[in-house]
C-alpha cells in the first residue's frame, strides 16, 4: 500500500456535527455537503447528509444536539481547493413551513489531530420589507440557490445576510502522504528531519 512515490495524498475526516446554538429556534435539522476543488475527489464516505430533527432539551443548556457523524476520505493531488464543509440548518417557522435557519461553511482543518470548529451561521435577507413580510407570511424565506455559495467568495457582494446562531463541529483529521508530496502542514518542531533521500521535490523538472 505504501509506495515511496505516491501520486496522491489522502485526507481522512471523521467527526461529527455536534450541535448548534440557535437561541430563538427549535426543532432544527441540518444538512451538510462538501465543497472542494477540481483536484479533489472523495474516495469513500458520504459527501452529503441530512440529520435528524432535534429539539432543545428541558435543561439549562439551550443547545441543540445532533451528533451527526461525518466520515469521508478525500484524495487529492493539490491542496488548492481544500475541502470545505457547508452546513445549512433548517427548521419550521411559526406556520410550520420548513425554512432555512442558517448557512455556514468552514475549511476542514489542515493539520492532523482533533479539532473543534464553531461556525457562525447566517441567512440571506429579503430585499425589501414587503418581501420580508410576504416571505414570512408564505413561509418562503429567501434561500441560496445553492448552499455551496457560502463556500465561495464570488458573487457574495450582491447578497445581504443576517447572522443567527452557531453550529459546532468536531473533526479528527488524518492525512497520508502529504509530506511525501512536499506539503508540510504540521508545525515546525514536529517536522522530522528524516527526509527521504530519494524524495523528489515538486516542481523540479
Amino acid at each position: 500500500m505504501t509506495s515511496p512515490n505516491p501520486s496522491v495524498f489522502l485526507l481522512m475526516i471523521s467527526g461529527q456535527i455536534e450541535g448548534a446554538q440557535f437561541p430563538e429556534y427549535d426543532d432544527l435539522y441540518c444538512k451538510y455537503c462538501f465543497v472542494y476543488g477540481h483536484d479533489w475527489a472523495p474516495t469513500s464516505g458520504l459527501e452529503e447528509g441530512i440529520s435528524q430533527i432535534t429539539s432543545k432539551g428541558r435543561g439549562s443548556t439551550q443547545s441543540l444536539v445532533w451528533n451527526f457523524p461525518l466520515d469521508i476520505t478525500f484524495k487529492s493531488t493539490n491542496p488548492f481547493g481544500w475541502p470545505q464543509i457547508v452546513v445549512s440548518v433548517y427548521g419550521p417557522d411559526t406556520f410550520g413551513n420548513d425554512v432555512v435557519r442558517g448557512y455556514g461553511a468552514v475549511h476542514i482543518p489542515f493539520t492532523p489531530g482533533k479539532h473543534t470548529r464553531t461556525i457562525p451561521m447566517f441567512v440571506p435577507e429579503s430585499t425589501s420589507r414587503l418581501q420580508k413580510f410576504t416571505s414570512w407570511l408564505m413561509g418562503r424565506r429567501p434561500e441560496y440557490t445553492d448552499p455551496k455559495v457560502v463556500a465561495q467568495g464570488e458573487g457574495r457582494e450582491v447578497t445581504r445576510v443576517r447572522s443567527q446562531g452557531f453550529v459546532t463541529l468536531q473533526f479528527s483529521i488524518i492525512t497520508k502522504d502529504m509530506k511525501k508530496l512536499g506539503y508540510d502542514t504540521t508545525s515546525g518542531e514536529q517536522a522530522p528531519a528524516t527526509r527521504l533521500a530519494g524524495t523528489e521535490q515538486p516542481y523540479r523538472s
Partner: protein, 1683 residues
C-alpha cells in the same frame, strides 16, 4: 454683656453723633485748606445741584457728588503735586532709613484712610474694618503686606510721573501734601459702596479713640507744629483700620519728614524694597505686642471724655472658655461623621459577586504579570474603603483582588550600560544637547482636527440681501430708495435725539453758570471759580455751536425728505404707474403758539446775551492785547530813541574799534524792525449780533408757532399692476422677474457651497435664509460671499463681500446677523425703464439733476462658530490664531515664497528650504527633500533601468523559464484561465512526471490552428476560413460573456419568492370560486426549479408522442405507376384533384395481410434511445410518454451551462416491417420466424436549448421527410400539390403531435441575457434613438411580455445597430432569376430555396444564449452560416428587390423559439415564409409554425403588434392601422433617415463546378467508408448499377426543387431492379461541413439492415449555387433481393 439688639442701638446712636461731629470736621478741613476747599466746595455744589436736578434718590446723589468732588480734587491735586515736588526734595532727610520710609508709607496710607472716613462715614473702604484686629495679628499682617505692596507700587509710579513734571513756583503747605496725595491714591482703589453701617461706624469709633490718644501725646512731645487743636483734628481724620501703634509713633516723630517720603520711595530699587518689606514686617510684630500693653489704659481714660461713646470694646466682646471635648467623646462623635476603613483583610466572598468562586487566571495557565508591591495593610484599607463605595465591586478582578496592572518597573535596566565611561567614549555616541525647536508649521492646521473632538464647524448664515441700488431700479425705485434712506437717517437721528440732548446740556450749563454767579453774587469770586466759569462759558459756546449744526441738519433732512417725496409723487404721476410701495405721511403736531414763541424768544435772548458777553470778553481780551502790544511798542520806541542817542554818541567818539562796531550792529539787529503799531479793537456790534442770531434761528429752526412736522414712511401704497403700466415699465418688470440671485460661499478662496438661486422680487429684496455648516480643517483665513446674478442660465458676479472670520467666542445662536454693504461698478444699461448702473440718470423732466448710481446693497449674513450637541462650541482654540500661522503659511508654500520660477533654480530652492527649516520627515516635503539631497549631493547616480517591484526577484523560487517549462504549473494555469480543454480538468497530477505531454497536444494544436487552416477537416478551404472566422467571433463574444458570468445578481444566488402583485392576488381569489374539477382541465404550471442544486439523473426529458398524420404508406414493389399529373403547378391551380383511393388496392396487395404501415417513433437524446410501441396505419395514435434522462455537460447544472447544451432530441418515425424469413413453406404453419426491419420515414430534431428556453413544446410538427421514399407513397400524394390556397388539407408531408417538457421545470436562464444588457455594446447610433429604443422595448415588454420586440441588434462587430438598417433591397443572383424568366413564382421559390440552402447555424447555441449576432447579407454570404435572422433578412431583401412588399417578422415559432420570418403581401394575401426551410404558409394556415408575431420590420419602420392576438391566423397585417400596430417612428419621433448597413450590391461568386464535383466524390467516398464502418459485423455490398441509377436521378431532384418529381424515375428504377425490394430515400442538405451529412445518414439507420443479402446503393450529388452555396443530395438505399 449686652444683647446684639442693644449693641445695634448703641451703634446707631454713636453713628449719629459721629455724623454730627463730622459735619464740623468738614468745616475745619475747609478752614485748614481754605483756598483749595473753596473751589472744591464750589465744584461740589454745582455737581450736586446738577445731579440732584435729575431726581435721583438722595443716597445715590450723595455718593455721586462725593465721587465727582473727588475727581475734581484729583485733578487739582495732580497739578499741585507737580508744584510741590522740588522744594520737598530739598527736605529729604538723610537719616531716613528704608525702614522708616516703608513705615511712613504705610502710615500715610492709614492716615489717608482715616481722613477719608472722617469725611464720609458712609463710604465703605476697600479694606474690611477689623474691630478685633488686635487679637488677630496674622490676618492683619497678611493684609498689611498686601497693602504695602500696593502702596509701593502706587507710590513708585506716582513718583516717577512726578519727577517728570517741572516744578512750579507755587508752594503750598507741606501739611496738606501727603494727605491729599493719599486721597488721590485712595480714589484709585475705591470700590462700590457696601454699606455695613454698624461695622464701619464701630471701626471708626475705635480709630477715633486711637487717634485721639495719640494726638494727646503728640501734642505734648512735639513742637514747631500746628496748634494742638489743629493737630488733633487732623489726626481724628485718620481712621486706621489696622492696629499700627508703632507706626503711629514713628509717624508722630517724623511728621515733618513724612511729606517727602514718596519721592524717595519712588527712587528706591526694587530689590531693596523687597528686602525691607521683610524686615519691616518682622519689626511690626514686635512693636505691636509692645504697644498693645501700653495703650490699654490710655484708651479707657480718655474715651469717655472725648467722645460720647459709653461703651468700650469690652462691652462688645464676650469672653468664654475655650471648648474642650474629651478625647473619647470626640472619637465617638467623629465616628458618626467619619469612616475609618479597618485594616483587617476583607473576606473574598465580599469582593466577588454572589455565588462566584474566585478564579485564578494564573492557575489556568494564563500569564499574569507581577503586581506592584503594596503593603498588606494598605491594601486592606483600600479594599475596605472601596467596598463601601457605590459600585465598588467593579474594582475587583475575578480573583478577588484589586485590579492592578502588572508592575511596570523592570528589574534590570533596559538601557545597555555604557562602558569606557572615561575618555574613550566614541564621539559619535556622545550625547549632545540640542535646544528643542518649535515647529512652525503646527499652526497650519487646526490642532487635533483628526480627533473626534476636534471638528470645527463654521456656520455661515446667509439670510438675504437688499439692493439699495440695482440696474433694474426704475427712477421711482431710486427715489424710493433715497427716501427710505433719508427716512432711516431721520429715524436714527430721532432715536439719538442729539438736538434735544444738546439743548438740555446747554440749558444745564447756563443754569450752572447762573447759579455760580448767584452764589457768589459777584463779591468773592475766587480765581478758581472764575476759571471754572470761563470754562463753562467755553463749553456753552461749543455746545451751542454743536446744537445749531444738529438743528440745521435736522431741518435740512426733513426738507430733503419732503423734497424727495414730492419728486417721487411727481414721477409717479408722470409715469402713470407706481412701482414702490412707499408712502410718506407728514404728521403735524400743533404746538401752543404763545408758549412756543415765548420759549423761542427766550432762547434767542439767552443766546444773544451770551454772544454779547462773549464778544465783550473778546473785546476785553483784544483790548488787553492791544494794550500790551501798545506798551511794547512804546518801550521799543523808547529803546529806539535811546539807541539812536547812543549811536550818535558813538559816532561822535569816532569809529575806533571794529569790534564795538560790530556789536552795535548786532544790537541794532536785535531790536529788529519796528513792530507794527497795534490798532485798538472795535467795539462789538451788539445790535448786529441779535440780528445775526435771529437770522440763524429762522434758518435752522422752526418758526415760532409752526407745527412740528413728523414724517412717517409706510409701505402701503399699492403698486400698479403690470397691465396698467406703460410699456417700458412692463419690460422692466419682466426683466426683473427673470433675474435670480444666489450667493456663493468661499472659504479660504475655495467655493464650498452656494445658496439656491432665488428670483429677484419687485422690491429688490432677496431672501435666502440658508445656513451652511462648514466643517473645517484648515484655519479660516477668509470667508467670502460672492453675489451672483443670473439671467436665465448665465450668471455673473455682482459683488464680493468679505466676512470677517469670527472670534472663537462668536457662537451660533448668540450672534445677530450683520449687514454688509456691497457695491459693484459694472456698467449696465437698459433700453427700458431700468435706470442701469454706472450710467448718468436724470430725475427731472428737463434733464437736470443728473446722477450716476452704482449697483449697491446690503447683504445680511452671519458667520459664527457652531455649537455642538453637548453645547460645546465647535470653535478652535483662539490661542492658535495669530500671525504665526500666516508667516508659517507663507514659508510653507515654496511657490509663495520664492515664486514659481524659483522652483527651477536649485540654489534658491535650497536656500529657501534651509530658511524655512522644512521638516525632512514630513511626507509632504519628501519630493523637495529628495530634490535637495540630489542637488546637494552633486551628480545623481541614476540607475539605467526602472523596476516596479525591486524585491520581486527575492521571492521567486524558480526562474520564469523553469516555471514555464513545468507541465504541472502550465496545466494549473490553463485550467484557471478556463481554457475550454482544461476548464473542468479533474485531479491534476501531483508530480510533474505524471503529466504526459499528450495532455497539451490538443490544446497546442488548437493554438496552431489559429494560423494554419486544416483543409482536410473541412474539405473546403473557404469554409475552413469561414469556420475560423466564426470561431474567432465566438471567442470574443464568449470572453465578453465570461466577464459577465462573473458578474452576479441577486437572483443568481438567492431564491426569493416574488411579491405577489394585486393582479395575481385577485386571480387567486377568483380561482377560489372555480370548480374543483373543471370539465376542461388546464395544465398547471409546475414549480420551477433552479438548475443549480440538481445533479445527474434529477432532470428528465418527457416526450409525449401523441399522434401522427399522413405517414407514408408502403407500396407494393410491383405497383403500377401511379396516376398523377406532374404538370407545372401554379399559384392559381387549386387543389381539386381528388386523391385516388389507392389505399384499399395497395393494402390488398401486401402479403400476410399486413397493414399499410406499422409506424413507431423512436426518440434519441444523449445516447439514450427509446421507442414507442408500434401503431398501425398512416394516422397512428400512440399517446405514449417517453422519459429520457438528462445529464448536463460536466455535471454542471448551472443556468449558463444548461443554455450551452447543444444536444438535440431526435424524433424519428420508423416503419416496422416484418419479413417472413421462414424459408420452408412447411414450417409456416407451426412457427413464425420473421425479421423485423425498420424503415426510416422521417424525423424531427429539436434542440435541447429550445426546450429549455421554452420549458415546453406542444404542437404538431412537420416531419422532415425525404422527398422520395422508395417503397412508400403518400396516401394522398396529390394533396401535396397546393398553391397558396386558404383551404389546404393536411398534406404536404407528415405531421407528428408532440408534447415535450423537462421534469422538473427549470428556470430558464434569462438572467444572462439581462446581464448582457448591462454590458454596453459600442454603438454608432444616436443616443436619442437608443433611448427611444429602450423606451419602446420596455413599453412593449410591459404590455405584452410574450411578444418579442426587437429594435436594436448587435452586429458581428459587437456594435448595437438599429434593426431597420438591415433591411435594404438586394438583388438575388441573376442566374436564379434567369432560371425562370417567365414564371415569377418559380423564381421566387428558387430564391427561397437558395436562401434556405445557406447552412443554418444557430448562434443562440454557439453563443450560449448570450445574444443574437446579426450579420449583414454580404457577411452572411461570406460566412455561409447564420441563423433565422440572417436568413430572414436576406430573404426579405431579395423579396424587396424583386418588387414584393415584404417585412421581417420577429416572433416566436415552434420549435425554434424566438425567430424571424418573412412576411410578403401577395395579391391581398399575406404569406409567411420560413427562410431557413424555404417553406411558406398562408396567413390562415393552421400548421404554420409561427405562433406569435411580435413586430414587423421593414426598411423604414418597426411596428409592434398591439392587437389582441398574436397568432397569425387571428390578426391583421395591415401596418397602417395604428390600432393594431404601434410604429416606432411616428410623427412625434420621425425617422432620422438611417442609412443601411447593408452593402449596395451583393457580389456573387460563381461556384466552380469542378470543385463541386470533387466535393461530391469526396463526400461519397467518406460516406461509403462510414457505412462500412457502421456495419462492422456484416459485409457491405454496393450495388453499382443502382448507385449509378440513383446518381442520375439526383440532379433531377435538384432541378425540381426537392419535390416529388421522381415517381416515374422510381418506377424506372423499379423496373430496372425488378428483383429487389428497395427501400431508400434521398437526403437533401445544405452543405456546411461533412459531419452533419454523416450524422444525417447515420440517423436514418439504413445501415442497420441486417438481411444477409442486402446491398446498398449510395449516390451523392452536389449542386453548386452562386457564392459557394452548395446543395447536397445523398441518395441512400438498401436493396434486398427478393428472389
Amino acid at each position: 454683656m449686652s444683647t446684639p439688639s442693644d449693641l445695634r442701638d448703641k451703634l446707631r446712636k454713636k453713628r449719629r453723633a459721629l455724623q454730627e461731629s463730622l459735619g464740623k470736621v468738614k468745616d475745619d478741613t475747609q478752614a485748614l485748606v481754605p483756598s483749595d476747599s473753596d473751589v472744591t466746595k464750589e465744584n461740589e455744589r454745582t455737581a450736586v445741584e446738577k445731579l440732584t436736578g435729575r431726581g435721583d434718590d438722595p443716597g445715590e446723589t450723595l455718593r455721586r457728588s462725593l465721587k465727582a468732588q473727588r475727581m475734581k480734587k484729583k485733578k487739582k491735586l495732580l497739578e499741585e503735586m507737580s508744584m510741590e515736588g522740588p522744594p520737598e526734595e530739598e527736605m529729604v532727610n538723610e537719616e531716613i532709613t528704608a525702614v522708616q520710609e516703608l513705615q511712613h508709607d504705610q502710615e500715610e496710607h492709614s492716615v489717608e484712610t482715616l481722613a477719608e472716613e472722617g469725611r464720609s462715614v458712609r463710604l465703605q473702604r476697600d479694606l474690611p474694618p477689623l474691630p478685633v484686629a488686635r487679637a488677630d495679628s496674622s490676618l492683619s499682617e497678611s493684609s498689611m503686606r498686601q497693602r504695602m505692596r500696593e502702596k509701593l507700587r502706587v507710590a513708585r509710579s506716582k513718583a516717577a510721573s512726578l519727577l517728570q513734571q517741572e516744578a512750579s513756583l507755587e508752594q503750598p503747605s507741606h501739611l496738606r501734601g501727603p494727605r491729599d496725595r493719599e486721597t488721590l491714591t485712595r480714589f484709585d482703589r475705591e470700590t462700590d459702596l457696601d454699606v455695613h453701617e454698624e461695622e464701619s461706624s464701630f471701626a471708626a469709633r475705635v480709630k477715633f479713640r486711637d487717634a485721639a490718644r495719640k494726638a494727646t501725646r503728640d501734642k505734648r512731645t512735639e513742637t514747631g507744629l500746628p496748634t494742638e487743636e489743629e493737630a488733633y483734628k487732623f489726626f481724628t481724620f485718620n481712621f486706621d483700620p489696622e492696629p499700627q501703634e508703632s507706626r503711629r509713633k514713628d509717624r508722630a516723630k517724623k511728621k515733618t519728614r513724612s511729606t517727602d517720603d514718596e519721592e524717595n520711595e519712588g527712587e528706591e530699587d526694587e530689590e531693596e524694597e523687597e528686602e525691607e518689606t521683610g524686615r519691616a514686617r518682622a519689626r511690626e510684630g514686635e512693636d505691636e505686642s509692645r504697644e498693645r500693653d501700653e495703650d490699654a489704659p490710655l484708651v479707657r481714660d480718655e474715651e469717655e471724655d472725648l467722645f460720647i461713646i459709653d461703651q468700650s470694646a469690652k462691652d462688645f466682646l464676650e469672653l468664654k472658655k475655650a471648648d474642650y471635648i474629651g478625647y473619647n467623646r470626640r472619637v465617638l462623635r467623629e465616628r458618626e461623621i467619619f469612616f475609618t476603613p479597618s485594616t483587617r483583610p476583607v473576606p473574598a466572598s465580599c469582593k466577588l459577586p454572589e455565588n462566584v468562586q474566585p478564579r485564578y487566571l494564573e492557575d489556568e495557565g494564563l500569564y499574569v504579570g507581577e503586581r506592584p508591591p503594596v503593603a498588606l495593610s494598605n491594601q486592606n484599607i483600600l479594599e475596605n474603603r472601596i467596598l463601601k463605595e457605590d459600585g465598588g465591586k467593579k474594582w475587583f478582578g475575578d480573583d478577588g483582588r484589586i485590579l492592578a496592572l502588572p508592575d511596570p518597573i523592570k528589574e534590570s535596566s533596559s538601557r545597555p550600560p555604557l562602558y569606557h565611561l572615561e575618555e574613550e567614549l566614541d564621539p559619535a555616541l556622545q550625547t549632545v544637547y540640542r535646544k528643542p525647536l518649535k515647529s512652525k508649521y503646527v499652526n497650519r492646521y487646526i490642532a487635533g482636527v483628526g480627533d473626534t473632538q476636534g471638528d470645527y464647524q463654521l456656520d455661515v448664515d446667509v439670510s438675504g440681501l437688499i439692493f439699495s441700488h440695482h440696474p433694474l431700479f426704475s427712477k421711482e425705485h431710486v427715489l424710493g430708495a433715497r427716501l427710505a434712506q433719508l427716512y432711516d437717517q431721520y429715524l436714527s437721528r430721532q432715536h439719538k435725539n442729539l438736538t434735544c440732548l444738546l439743548t438740555d446740556k446747554l440749558n444745564g450749563l447756563r443754569n450752572t453758570i447762573r447759579n455760580m454767579l448767584e452764589l457768589h453774587s459777584g463779591e468773592g469770586i475766587s480765581h478758581v471759580t472764575q476759571q471754572r466759569i470761563a470754562e463753562y462759558k467755553q463749553e456753552v459756546r461749543h455746545t451751542r455751536q454743536l446744537r445749531d449744526t444738529e438743528q440745521e441738519k435736522d431741518r435740512t433732512l426733513l426738507k430733503s425728505i419732503i423734497k424727495v417725496w414730492k419728486e417721487l409723487k411727481s414721477l409717479r404721476e408722470d409715469k402713470g404707474c407706481t412701482n414702490t410701495p412707499y408712502k410718506l405721511y407728514i404728521r403735524r403736531e400743533e404746538i401752543q403758539r404763545a408758549l412756543d414763541e415765548q420759549e423761542q424768544e427766550a432762547e434767542i435772548l439767552a443766546e444773544v446775551a451770551e454772544l454779547q458777553a462773549e464778544s465783550e470778553e473778546d473785546y476785553e481780551r483784544k483790548l488787553n492785547e492791544y494794550k500790551r502790544k501798545h506798551e511794547e511798542w512804546k518801550s521799543w520806541k523808547k529803546k529806539q530813541k535811546t539807541l539812536k542817542k547812543k549811536q550818535k554818541q558813538r559816532r561822535q567818539q569816532s569809529q575806533d574799534v571794529d569790534e564795538e562796531e560790530e556789536e552795535d550792529e548786532h544790537s541794532e539787529e536785535e531790536l529788529g524792525e519796528e513792530p507794527v503799531k497795534p490798532e485798538a479793537p472795535e467795539k462789538p456790534d451788539i445790535a448786529g449780533l441779535e440780528q445775526q442770531v435771529r437770522e440763524k434761528a429762522a434758518k435752522i429752526r422752526r418758526k415760532p408757532g409752526e407745527p412740528v412736522l413728523v414724517p412717517e414712511l409706510t409701505a402701503s401704497n399699492p403698486i400698479t399692476p403690470n397691465e396698467a403700466c406703460p410699456r417700458g415699465e412692463i419690460s422692466r418688470r419682466e426683466d426683473v422677474s427673470k433675474r435670480s440671485l444666489f450667493v456663493k460661499v468661499l472659504y479660504n478662496d475655495k467655493e464650498v457651497s452656494r445658496t439656491d438661486s432665488r428670483s429677484l422680487n419687485m422690491d429688490f429684496r432677496v431672501h435666502f435664509g440658508q445656513i451652511f455648516n462648514l466643517k473645517i480643517v484648515n484655519w479660516p483665513e477668509s470667508i467670502k460671499l460672492q453675489i451672483y446674478e443670473g439671467v436665465s442660465s448665465s450668471s455673473s458676479l455682482i459683488a464680493e463681500v468679505c466676512v470677517p472670520v469670527p472670534e472663537s467666542s462668536v457662537l451660533t445662536g448668540s450672534t445677530p446677523s450683520e449687514e454688509l454693504e456691497f457695491s459693484s461698478n459694472q456698467r449696465v444699461t437698459f433700453n427700458h425703464e431700468g435706470v442701469g448702473s454706472d450710467v448718468p440718470v436724470s430725475f427731472t423732466n428737463d434733464g437736470s439733476n443728473i446722477q450716476t448710481l452704482l449697483t449697491s446693497g446690503k447683504l445680511s449674513c452671519c458667520v459664527s462658530w457652531a455649537v455642538g450637541e453637548d453645547d460645546i462650541p465647535l470653535a478652535p482654540p483662539s490661542t492658535q490664531h495669530g500671525a504665526g500661522m500666516h508667516s508659517g503659511l507663507r514659508q510653507m508654500d515654496a511657490i509663495a515664497c520664492i515664486g514659481a520660477s524659483g522652483l527651477n533654480d536649485m540654489k534658491r530652492l535650497g536656500k529657501w528650504a534651509a530658511e524655512s527649516r522644512l521638516d525632512p520627515n514630513d511626507p509632504n516635503n519628501a519630493s523637495i527633500m529628495q530634490l535637495l539631497s540630489v542637488a546637494s549631493g552633486g551628480e545623481v547616480v541614476a540607475p539605467d533601468y526602472f523596476r516596479l517591484e525591486q524585491l520581486q526577484e527575492e521571492f521567486n523560487f524558480l526562474s520564469d523559464e523553469e516555471l514555464e517549462r513545468s507541465r504541472r504549473f502550465r496545466l494549473i494555469r490553463l485550467r484557471s484561465q478556463e481554457e475550454p480543454e482544461f476548464r473542468n480538468f479533474k485531479t491534476i497530477p501531483a508530480t510533474e512526471r505524471e503529466i504526459s505531454e499528450k495532455v497539451f497536444e490538443e490544446y497546442d494544436r488548437r493554438l496552431k490552428e489559429g494560423e494554419v487552416i486544416d483543409t482536410k477537416e473541412h474539405i473546403d478551404a473557404h469554409r475552413a476560413l469561414v469556420a475560423k472566422y466564426l470561431q474567432k467571433v465566438r471567442e470574443s463574444v464568449i470572453n465578453r460573456f465570461l466577464i459577465s458570468k462573473h458578474h452576479y445578481i441577486l437572483s443568481d444566488l438567492v431564491v426569493e419568492e416574488e411579491v405577489p402583485s394585486i393582479g395575481v392576488l385577485g386571480l387567486n381569489l377568483f380561482k377560489l370560486a372555480e370548480p374543483k374539477r373543471p370539465l376542461k382541465p388546464r395544465r398547471k404550471e409546475r414549480k420551477k426549479v433552479t438548475a443549480q442544486n440538481l445533479s445527474d439523473g434529477d432532470i428528465k426529458l418527457l416526450v409525449n408522442i401523441i399522434r401522427g398524420y399522413d405517414i407514408p404508406i408502403r407500396k407494393p414493389h410491383t405497383s403500377k405507376p401511379a396516376a398523377g399529373s406532374k404538370g407545372a403547378r401554379s399559384y392559381t391551380e387549386t387543389f381539386t384533384a381528388a386523391s385516388t383511393s389507392q389505399t384499399a388496392l395497395q393494402a390488398s396487395e401486401w402479403p400476410l395481410g399486413q397493414p399499410v404501415i406499422r409506424p413507431f417513433v423512436e426518440v434519441s437524446f444523449q445516447r439514450t434511445l427509446l421507442q414507442t410501441s408500434t401503431a398501425e396505419g398512416p394516422n397512428p395514435c400512440w399517446n405514449e410518454e417517453l422519459v429520457l434522462p438528462f445529464s448536463a455537460p460536466n455535471g454542471d447544472y448551472s443556468t449558463s451551462s444548461l443554455q450551452a447544451v447543444r444536444d438535440e432530441v431526435f424524433i424519428s418515425i420508423f416503419d416496422e416491417v416484418l419479413h417472413d424469413v421462414v424459408e420452408d413453406e412447411r414450417e409456416r404453419g407451426s412457427s413464425v420466424h420473421t425479421r423485423i426491419e425498420r424503415h426510416w420515414l422521417g424525423s424531427i430534431k429539436i434542440p435541447f436549448s429550445t426546450i429549455y428556453m421554452q420549458s415546453r413544446i406542444d404542437g404538431t410538427f412537420k416531419l422532415g421527410t425525404p422527398s422520395v421514399l422508395l417503397g412508400y407513397s403518400k396516401e394522398r400524394s396529390l394533396g401535396s400539390e397546393g398553391g397558396y390556397d386558404a383551404i389546404r388539407s393536411l398534406s404536404e408531408g407528415t405531421f407528428l403531435t408532440l408534447f415535450i417538457t423537462i421534469e422538473p421545470q427549470l428556470v430558464p436562464g434569462d438572467s444572462i441575457r439581462e446581464k448582457m444588457k448591462d454590458v454596453k455594446f459600442d454603438t454608432q447610433e444616436v443616443e436619442r434613438l437608443l433611448l427611444a429604443c429602450e423606451i419602446f422595448e420596455k413599453d412593449a415588454g410591459q404590455r405584452y411580455p410574450d411578444r418579442p420586440c426587437v429594435t436594436t441588434v448587435v452586429d458581428i462587430n459587437g456594435k448595437t445597430v438599429f434593426i431597420t438598417r438591415f433591411i435594404r433591397p438586394l438583388p438575388p443572383p441573376q442566374e436564379l432569376l434567369d432560371a425562370f424568366p417567365n414564371n415569377s413564382q418559380e423564381a421566387t421559390e428558387l430564391v427561397v430555396r437558395y436562401v434556405s440552402l445557406i447552412p443554418f447555424l444557430p448562434d443562440s447555441v454557439s453563443f450560449a444564449g448570450i445574444c443574437d449576432l446579426w450579420s449583414t447579407c454580404d457577411q452572411f454570404l461570406t460566412l455561409l452560416a447564420g441563423d433565422e435572422e440572417e436568413h430572414a433578412v436576406l430573404l426579405c431583401n431579395y423579396f424587396l428587390s424583386m418588387g414584393k412588399k415584404a417585412w421581417l417578422i420577429i416572433g416566436t415559432a415552434i420549435p425554434e423559439g424566438p425567430t424571424a420570418y418573412v412576411l410578403t403581401q401577395e395579391q391581398n394575401r399575406y404569406l409567411i415564409w420560413n427562410p431557413s426551410t424555404g417553406q411558406y404558409y398562408g396567413q390562415h394556415d393552421t400548421f404554420c409554425p409561427l405562433q406569435t408575431v411580435g413586430c414587423l420590420v421593414n426598411a423604414d419602420n418597426v411596428w409592434f403588434n398591439i392587437q389582441l392576438y398574436a397568432t397569425p391566423i387571428r390578426m391583421s397585417f395591415d401596418v397602417t392601422k395604428p390600432k393594431f400596430w404601434k410604429p416606432f417612428f411616428s410623427r412625434s419621433f420621425p425617422d432620422p433617415g438611417l442609412s443601411s448597413v447593408q452593402p449596395e450590391d451583393l457580389v456573387y461568386r460563381r461556384t466552380d463546378k469542378a470543385y463541386a464535383a470533387e466535393l461530391q466524390d469526396r463526400i461519397e467516398k467518406i460516406l461509403r467508408e462510414k457505412i462500412m464502418e457502421w456495419r462492422p459485423r456484416h459485409p457491405t455490398r454496393w450495388n453499382r448499377y443502382c448507385t449509378s441509377t440513383l446518381r442520375q436521378f439526383l440532379p433531377k431532384l435538384e432541378m425540381s426543387g426537392g419535390r416529388e418529381v421522381a415517381e416515374e424515375h422510381r418506377l424506372e428504377l423499379q423496373s430496372l431492379l425488378g428483383d429487389y425490394r428497395i427501400s431508400g430515400f434521398p437526403l437533401h442538405l445544405p452543405f456546411s461541413e461533412i459531419r452533419p451529412i454523416i450524422e444525417a445518414v447515420y440517423s436514418t439507420g439504413v445501415h442497420n439492415v441486417e438481411a444477409p443479402n442486402v446491398e446498398f446503393a449510395l449516390a451523392v450529388y452536389v449542386h453548386p449555387y452562386p457564392s459557394n452555396v452548395l446543395s447536397v443530395w445523398v441518395y441512400i438505399a438498401s436493396l434486398v433481393r427478393t428472389r
